[in-house]
Each structure stands twice: as C-alpha cells, then as structure tokens.
C-alpha cells in the first residue's frame, strides 16, 4: 500500500497525486516512469514521473481521466492509497549541456516535461518551453514551467487562453529564429509525431517519450514494443524516450488502439458504478 499524501485537481479532468514512496523517490531521475495498480482488480498503468522529492520520500503523479483506471485514480482522495507502485522504470532522459533546448509539453504531457526542463536548465542549457492544450481548462503548471524556462510560450487549440494554435507553430518559429541543439516533445502521440516532422527539415535531434500500453514494465512481455529505425524496441526498458525521427508512428497509433473497445466498455461500466453509488 502506498499512501496518497495529497491529491488535487489541476483541471476538472487532470489529477495530481503526491504519493509516499521513499525508495523510488531516492532513485528517480527525469524521464523515468512508474507503474501503478490501484486495487486488487486493477490493471497495471504506466505513468511518467511528474516530480519527486528524495528528502521527503514522495513522488508526484499526474494523470488525465480518460479511461476506467485513470477515472478510478481521480476518485482517490488524500489519505487513501494505491495498492501497488513500482519503479523507477525505463531509462532516464539524457541530461547534458546541449546549448539551446526546446521542451514541448502537450496536454497532460506538460507534467513529465517539467522535470526534464528543470534538469536541462540545471545542466546549463538555455531552455525554451512551449506548453499547449486543447483549451484553457486543460492547461496547468504554467507557473511551474515558467520557473524552469528561459522563455515560455503557451498555446491553446481554440484560443481560449494565450496564443491560439498548435505547439508546432511556435516550435517552427523558434527553429527558424535561432540555433536549437535539441527538442524534447511529450504529449499525445499525434503531437509528438508532428513535432518530429517539424524539426526534421532543421535536422534537430528530437526526443519523444512513448507511453505505450504496458503490463510488467520490465521487458518481460513485449506488449510495449514499437519499431524504431526498423528495429523492434520495448518502450519500458529501451525507452520510454526515443528519437522521434526514427519512430514508426503508424505502429504507435495502431498499437494504442488495441483495446479501444474494451477500454470503452470498462469506462461505461465504471461510470455506471459511480452513478449507482451516488
């Protein structure tokens, strides 16, 4: 049992949980993830670390309520607990002094991009961050991102807040404007794909973080496999970060859809249970 020390809603559908996990907090590095199983009937869900505090022995997880498991997570409260929590998994982000780095966070991807931007800045990079969401209500951590960035650009798809448009537009402008050594893009797969396409003509190395469907997270099942540079790789042990220019995005999109039908069934069932409870 892992205790939830605090739980807050960052937006109506995005939850932030601080969980007691001293051993994981001691080892965690930017870019790594954990796998949670909420209760006895729960599935194993990978979540990229949004933050951690080795001294306090805590980790911070951010999740958007899109499926039955994330809705269940959103229903947990301060003082409650998560049955299983394992990590830190995956390889940490490469943190070096590259020069100017652009960090792009889309939607709930803003959370995992934050510690990476912070580490990159600490390593002496000039960090330009772009965060975007569909609308104002889905945007969070603007203040936290501003603190770890030399420059911050905020976009919303519908223009309900800050600049109207997609994150790829300011990304392209920056690439045209100045020499960028590296781009880190985390968010929906479609966003990561288009960020990679945007940086390709500029030949700027682009790192994406692929949150594949997983079971064990230790390389045991191959459920998280994808194709990078023509080779099969496991997101949980070879990633989660990969070269965005080498990723076969069609396979990423296809594999995300494996359980669409079942996920909907589970979500409907969860909602029904909630209605009966209230």
């Amino acid at each position: 049992m892992y205790k939830i020390l605090s739980k807050e809603k960052l937006t109506p559908v995005i939850d932030c949980l601080k969980v007691e996990a001293p051993a994981i907090a001691k080892k965690a590095r930017a870019g790594q993830f954990v796998i949670i199983r909420i209760d006895e009937v729960g599935e194993r869900v990978p979540l990229t670390l949004a933050d951690w505090d080795a001294a306090a022995g805590t980790i911070t997880l951010v999740a958007m309520e899109i499926g039955a498991s994330t809705c269940k997570l959103g229903g947990l409260q301060t003082g409650g607990s998560i049955l299983n929590l394992v990590g830190p998994l995956g390889l940490p982000s490469e943190i070096e002094k590259f020069g100017t780095v652009v960090c792009v966070g889309g939607g709930v991807g803003i959370a995992p991009v934050h510690p990476i931007a912070r580490s990159l800045r600490q390593a002496g990079n000039k960090v330009i961050s772009i965060i975007g969401a569909r609308n104002k209500d889905l945007l969070f951590w603007e203040d936290k991102m501003r603190l770890v960035s030399d420059e911050l650009i905020v976009t919303t798809d519908d223009g309900s807040y800050a600049r109207k448009g997609l994150v790829t537009e300011p990304l392209k402008e920056i690439l045209e404007r100045e020499k960028v050594a590296r781009v880190v893009a985390i968010g929906p797969a479609i966003m990561m794909k288009f960020c990679s396409l945007t940086t390709k003509p500029f030949n700027v190395p682009t790192v994406v973080s692929l949150n594949s469907i997983m079971v064990d997270g230790t390389g045991m099942c191959g459920c998280c496999r994808l194709s990078v540079g023509g080779q099969t790789r496991f997101a949980c042990v070879d990633g989660p970060e990969f070269d965005g220019h080498q990723v076969d995005w069609d396979i990423v999109f296809d594999r995300q859809k494996v359980y669409l039908k079942e996920e909907k069934e589970a979500l409907d069932r969860w909602k029904e249970c909630q209605c009966q409870k209230s």
């Binding site: 599935e43 045991m220 859809k257 494996v258």
Partner: protein, 470 residues
C-alpha cells in the same frame, strides 16, 4: 527356507481422473482432479520396491520415492509427507507440473513394461493430503538467528526454495520481487487450470511463516543494484530472476495488433485475470481463430487459455513433428482432448494484417525433417514452394525466453554467456562475483520448476556454509 510366492506384477497404471474435456474447455478449474484414497492405495501397491531404486536417480532432487510410496501403501501419510518434503520443498507444485515421463517415471523398473508407477500423481496426492491436514504438521523449529542477512532476488521456485532453506538455517532473508505477486512463473505463467494459484499462495505463505520478508513491487537493478544491496548490509545475494524475456520470430507482421508474446498472453490471462474482464480491469483480445507458435509447455498453456477465453479454433503451429514436442506428454494429451488442432511440421513465414493494422492471416511453410541437429532432434527444413495461408485473428508466439538483462547489466563483475544466462557453479550456484549466487532459469535458460528448486536448495547450502565460515 520356504520361498515366498512371487507377487504378480500389476501393469495397470491407475488413470488420473479428469474434468470432462467439453466442460473444462470453458472453465478455469483444475483439469486433473487428483487420486482418491483408493486410487492412491492401488497405485502405490503396484510399486515393487525394487532394490535398484532407479527412480531416485531420475529425480533431479533425489526424492526417496520408494520410501514415500511405501508410506502411502502403509497408510502412514505423515511419514509420506516427511519423506517427500525432506527433499522437495514444493511437492504440490511438482506433482502437477514436473515432466515425470522424462525423469523418475522414465527410468522406473516398470517403464520397461510400459507401466511405470505414476510417481507424479502419487506425489500430488501426498502433497494435497498435507495441504488439507496442516494441523498434523509439526511446526518448523527455527534455530537461533545467526545475525546474517541474505537478499534473494526473484520469488520463483528457485528464489522461494533458497529463501526457505536459508531461513531454516537461521539467516534473515528478504525476497525482492518485481511483480505485485510472489511465485514467479508459477503465478504469472502456468494457468489456474493446471496449477491452482491457491496452492502457490500457500507455498509463499509457508515461506513467509519462516520469517522471510517478501518485498513486492521491487525491480532490482532499478530500485537498488546488487552492489547497493551488498553495501547496505546484506552478507550475500541470491539471483533467482528466471528467464523472462520473450523471443520473437523476427518475421514481417509481428507488430500487428493481435500478435502477442506468450508471456504477455499468459500474464494478462493468469496474473491480471483478463478472463474475468470487465470484473477485472485488464483486457485481452479474444480471438476467434488463434494460432499459437511453439511446441513446449508455454505453447500448450497459451493454446488452452485461448480456448477458455472463447476461441472457436485454436492451432498449435510447430515446425517439427509431434515426437519432438518438448511439452509434458500429459498436457499435449489434455490439449488434444480439449480440441486444440495440431499443425505439425509448419513454420510461419509472415503474419498478414488488414487495413486497420489487425492480424487477419498467417502465411506458413510446410517443413520436413532432415538430419539431427546439435540438440539431437531432426532438423526441420523448409519445403520449397509449400506456402499456404491460415485465417487467424490472434497469433501467440511461444518460442522460448531468455534471462532479463536488467540485473546483469547493472552488476559489475558478473559473468554472462552469449545467451544472456548468468554463469554460476553447477553444484553451489556461486557466481564469479564475491558474495553472489545464482540459480534456476537465470543460469540454465528456460528449464523446469524442479531444476530451479534444486538449484535454490544447493545455493542455500553453499551460502550457509559461506556465512558460517565467515
């Protein structure tokens, strides 16, 4: 002296009662029901108690088989349990899953007459009696604590056995397990209908009752390295991490939706209970026409799970012939009875997908057998121009596994082979690294429960000798 009339040798092996094939193909209850008292007595009485005792040598951990069988015949169950458990820590498991036909039963004197004693079934009978009569168990008396600490990584049969023995020697043991449940393959791989999880759990509980601390959710190499464990106060470390890395075929179409490694298919089904979806949250794609590639226990288990999940047709696709299949004979028979279709001498060429990225068919070659290869089995060769297509919507690849490199890649001074196995002394399990032992599948590559258990036992003895000599 008057000569005793020679007892007539009974060659009628008592059959194992089974659930009806039609019914069981739709449920997850155990297939083999176990001997009744009368059946056990009858089978035990067939043993001629021959002085040569070849069965003992055929058993990887040298259980005193004639003695426990004699105790069954004498209706002294407490004694039968004592004899069995003095060598085998997991008899309820081994009685169910050991390949007896290539071990003890193969060399039984009555095997020459095609009627070896059903040693595995008797072992299961004794072990199940023990589970049902825990009150008759004499409590394990632990020696005074030695003050030594050992970390065991992995909670499969190798790790559990090693931990139990070390605890009985008086050492303080912590088992670290990556998954959320202890038991290794016994929990996540072998299905409920062949090895009820209740039985594995009671073995885990027994190990805990000896004072062993089991830490779940602990991926070692990530959470802490072996060196960090040794620096943080453990006097020795045992690696029992198994061979959990799935092999793929490396053919076109392998990343299509609907293609699973057997590990994923079985883990979803058994560990995550996808067969109870949506009551349990983990889904699995229910195929109508499922092809399982491989001929071992893992392939049989996957095929029989597919059937129980609701498939109309399940194929075992194997590139050699029936006689070369490495699976336990009993499971091959069970699978066949349940209606699994065996496509022998068949090897996949590619998996074909529809326009949405889902499996729709598999193209295969017909094979023929050539000269024996290094394994002594006849090498399968492709018949040129023999390609044909099978309509399938789920493909499960059960080709075998290799050890996970996580520990080896994060531990300085550990020796590994090209196949990724950890090098350790066969007898003691000692690796070339100071204070580190290893055993089970991580050393041998995918093998058997009994060999993993034996390795765990031998390593515990060696670790104990080392700690006491310190």
């Amino acid at each position: 002296m008057e000569e005793k009339p020679k007892a007539k040798i009974n060659l009628n092996r008592v059959a194992m009662p089974h659930q009806d094939p039609k019914a069981r193909a739709k449920n997850y209850s155990e297939v083999a029901l176990g001997y009744t008292d009368a059946m056990a007595l009858e089978e035990a009485s067939r043993c001629i108690q021959c002085p040569k005792r070849p069965c003992v040598g055929g058993c990887p951990v040298n259980v005193d088989i004639p003695e426990f069988i004699k105790a069954v015949r004498d209706n002294d169950m407490v004694e039968a349990v004592r004899v069995l458990k003095s060598k085998n820590a997991l008899p309820a498991v081994c009685g169910r899953v050991c390949p007896q036909e290539t071990q003890c039963e193969q060399v039984c004197t009555l095997a020459k007459k095609q009627a070896p004693i059903a040693i595995g079934r008797l072992e299961r009978y004794v072990a199940d009696w023990d589970l049902g009569h825990q009150d008759k168990r004499s409590p394990t008396v632990l020696p005074p604590p030695t003050g030594k600490k050992v970390a065991v990584i992995g909670s499969g049969p190798a790790g559990l056995t090693c931990a139990a023995d070390l605890a009985k020697f008086g050492h303080k043991v912590t088992v670290y397990e990556a998954l959320h449940t202890a038991g290794g393959v016994l929990m996540y791989g072998i299905p409920e209908f062949r090895l009820p999880k209740k039985i594995v759990q009671s073995e885990v509980d027994y190990v805990k009752s000896l004072g062993v601390d089991v830490q779940l959710d602990s991926v070692m190499g990530k959470l802490a390295t072996v060196d960090e464990l040794l620096e943080s106060g453990y006097d020795a470390v045992f690696l029992g991490t198994g061979a959990g890395l799935p092999m793929f075929l490396d053919i076109p179409g392998e990343n299509l939706n609907g293609v699973y490694s057997a590990n994923e298919y079985l883990t979803r089904t058994n560990l995550m209970k996808a067969y109870l979806f949506p009551e349990y949250d983990t889904p699995i794609k229910i195929g109508k026409r499922v092809a399982v590639i491989g001929g071992g226990n893992v392939a049989m288990d996957s095929a029989r799970c597919a059937l129980r999940l609701g498939a109309d047709v399940v194929y075992i696709v194997y590139r050699r012939s029936r006689t070369e299949m490495p699976a336990r004979h009993e499971e091959v028979e069970n699978a066949e009875e349940e209606g699994i279709v065996f496509k022998m001498l068949t090897n996949p060429k590619q998996i074909l997908g529809d326009d949405k990225g889902w499996v729709k068919a598999m193209e295969c070659y017909e094979m023929e057998l050539g000269e024996p290869d290094a394994s002594g089995r006849r090498r399968p060769i492709v018949k040129q121009g023999s390609e044909f297509t099978m309509d399938v919507d789920v493909v499960v690849i059960a080709l075998g596994t290799t050890p996970n490199p996580l520990i080896a890649s994060t531990t300085k001074g550990l020796d590994t082979t090209k196949r990724g196995t950890v090098v350790a002394d066969e007898q003691s399990g000692k690796t070339v690294k100071d204070r580190v032992w290893a055993g089970g599948d991580v050393v041998t590559g995918a093998a058997t429960v009994i060999s993993a258990m034996g390795a765990g036992k031998r390593a515990a003895a060696s670790i104990d000798a080392f700690l006491k000599g310190q």
